[in-house]
């Protein structure tokens, strides 16, 4: 278990911040505290992944920013506009793709997307809607009723609706839920293109590969508190680990003497010796330890049949951060 880093504090206002959350808390009528004094800033044009186990508060946070849930206390600004006092300006910047496939089953694709654009106060723009539907491979379904679409198509429709008013900030709440591999890859491509177009992307996901693949920065929320917020690469360097595995030719009955103090462990079947060490640039050098391990094996006459190393993924780091609650 990696020791938990200290909870991030509210950083000074960043002029480039497109979303600022300060000391945000939410207690539901049931008494459940969904968010506890959360502060964070999202920079313009970045892809930010908000990670956390079920019930951690991710959707509540998004819902407050988008105006779907009233906060108990705290302040939220989008593009510098307060979400309560200046809600029109704040909301017009936001597009939301919800977690659930919530659609009006009897409506056509074209009407549904046009409706959302209108709700956000934008005049009709058939050329833009056509481009959007073509980009999302929905053009040939524009006159189809939503109830006839597949799950993947409905997910793309929700994305089209969220983009219909040309937002500057796009929230993707679990975008990969129920989506096949091909569509997931297409979505990742689309998200990167949106970022190139200047849209800030904030996504929540259970699918850690998604965050690892796309995010510039990562925030981890657990039990309503933001436990870490950091550049993804930096986080992986700081909290990442490497595991050296040595497979021996003949099973060992016990760990050879002198290896236990190095942190080496032996698998139950006696075939694999493992050494786990910090992999970050700031971590102590593991070279001498590995050299000592190999020298000791040679002294004992242990024949080695294979050697491999494995670097921890963002998922491993996440599981360590939230104590395996995910």
């Amino acid at each position: 278990m990696i020791p938990l880093p200290s909870a991030p504090s509210a950083s000074p206002a960043d002029a480039d911040a497109v979303l600022t959350v300060r000391r945000l808390s939410k207690v539901y009528a049931s008494g459940h505290k969904a968010l506890d004094d959360v502060s964070l800033e999202i920079r313009r044009g970045e892809i930010f992944a908000l990670l956390g186990p079920n019930g951690a508060g991710k959707t509540t946070l998004i819902s407050i920013v988008c105006g779907l849930v009233n906060p108990t206390s705290g302040e939220v600004r989008v593009g510098g506009h307060d979400i309560a006092a200046d809600y029109r300006a704040a909301r017009s910047l936001i597009g939301l793709v919800p977690q659930e496939l919530t659609t009006d089953a009897f409506e056509t694709v074209w009407n549904a997307v046009s409706f959302t654009r209108g709700l956000f106060g934008k005049r009709r723009n058939p050329a833009y809607i056509e481009k959007l539907l073509r980009d999302l491979a929905l053009w040939n379904k524009k006159d189809a009723r939503i109830m006839t679409l597949s799950g993947g198509m409905k997910r793309r429709l929700l994305i089209a609706k969220a983009l219909s008013h040309e937002p500057k900030v796009l929230f993707l709440d679990e975008p990969s839920a129920g989506v096949d591999v091909e569509l997931r890859r297409d979505m990742w491509r689309m998200v990167r293109q949106l970022r190139r177009d200047g849209v800030t992307i904030i996504l929540t996901t259970h699918y850690l590969e998604e965050a690892e693949e796309m995010a510039d920065r990562v925030g981890v929320i657990d039990k309503g508190r933001l436990v870490v917020i950091e550049e993804k690469a930096k986080l992986m360097r700081r909290l990442g680990q490497k595991q050296l595995s040595i497979v021996v030719a003949a099973p060992l009955r016990a760990l050879p003497a002198g290896l236990a103090p190095l942190g080496v462990t032996l698998s139950e079947d006696g075939r694999t010796l493992s050494l786990t060490y910090a992999s970050g640039a700031d971590a102590p050098q593991a070279g001498p330890t590995i050299a000592a391990l190999l020298a000791r094996l040679a002294q004992e006459g242990v024949a080695v049949s294979d050697v491999s190393t494995r670097e921890s993924s963002l998922e491993d780091i996440f599981v360590n951060l939230v104590g395996g609650a995910a």
Partner: protein, 253 residues
């Protein structure tokens, strides 16, 4: 002001009506026509005139009011309850549109449908009974005002209801009985004194009476009282819905 947003909700709701034309228009017109056949032509032929008006013509304003009240509530309550039920309400709540604009879109569409329906029923009635409208401007004013007021009431029910049964409870168990007992088919002057006094506690009496006055120039209660009651209903609805949006009642929690 987000007028484009108001228009989007309004158009969306009107398109829903056209998709369900049989349920939205044909069905209420048919049932009202049946009332005219049974009460107006068949039974009404054996009834004496009331305030100099044939019974068939006398019930026209009451029947219009019955349809107006029930359809306004049904249209507006379903319009807001259904997106809550399916979850698509998130779009409206996250859009840069004020509560008043949301109400204008939903209630405006529901009231439009009801006014059109009322006028169709009026035209249908004219086929069965000889009809005159003595104060057409007042008749239209009452029609529009009551369509808006009860659509607003329906909107409130649509937010309050958390299942389909509750959506029906108020219209079926409260509004329909009050309308039937509010002088739809009779003048309250025909009741014994004690029941007449009890009936005066029924708010629908004032609405039917005012509407009937616009047709025939006679009423059970003063026209000023009828207008005042209608405006009081509207004001009460606005206060309740303002509270709902301010607190996020069943919308934002």
């Amino acid at each position: 002001m987000n007028l484009v947003g108001v228009g989007a909700i309004y158009r969306f709701e009107m398109m829903r009506t056209f998709r369900t034309l049989a349920q939205s228009v044909v069905s209420p017109v048919l049932s009202t026509a049946l009332y005219f056949v049974v009460f107006g032509s068949a039974i009404g032929g054996h009834m004496p005139k009331i305030d100099g008006v044939t019974y068939g013509a006398f019930i026209v304003p009451g029947l219009m009011m019955l349809t107006l009240l029930t359809q306004s509530i049904a249209n507006a309550s379903f319009a807001i309850y259904f997106p809550r039920f399916t979850g698509t309400i998130y779009e409206v709540l996250s859009a840069p549109i004020s509560p008043l604009e949301i109400i204008a879109g939903y209630v405006g569409a529901a009231a439009t449908k009801t006014v059109v329906l009322g006028l169709i029923i009026l035209a249908t009635a004219a086929l069965f009974v000889p009809l005159e409208v003595r104060h057409p401007v007042w008749m239209l004013a009452f029609l529009v005002l009551m369509a808006i007021t009860f659509s607003l009431f329906g909107f409130i029910i649509g937010i309050w209801a958390d299942n389909f049964e509750k959506l029906q409870v108020i219209p079926l168990l409260v509004v329909a009985p009050l309308t039937f007992l509010g002088g739809t088919f009779y003048s309250i002057d025909m009741l014994p004194d004690a029941w007449r006094i009890v009936t005066l506690f029924n708010p629908v009496v004032y609405l039917v009476s005012g509407f009937r006055w616009s047709f025939f120039g006679t009423s059970d209660v003063g026209i000023a009282v009828s207008v005042g009651m209608t405006l009081a209903f509207l004001a009460a609805g606005l206060v309740i819905v303002a509270w709902m949006f301010r607190t996020g009642y069943r919308l934002k929690n």
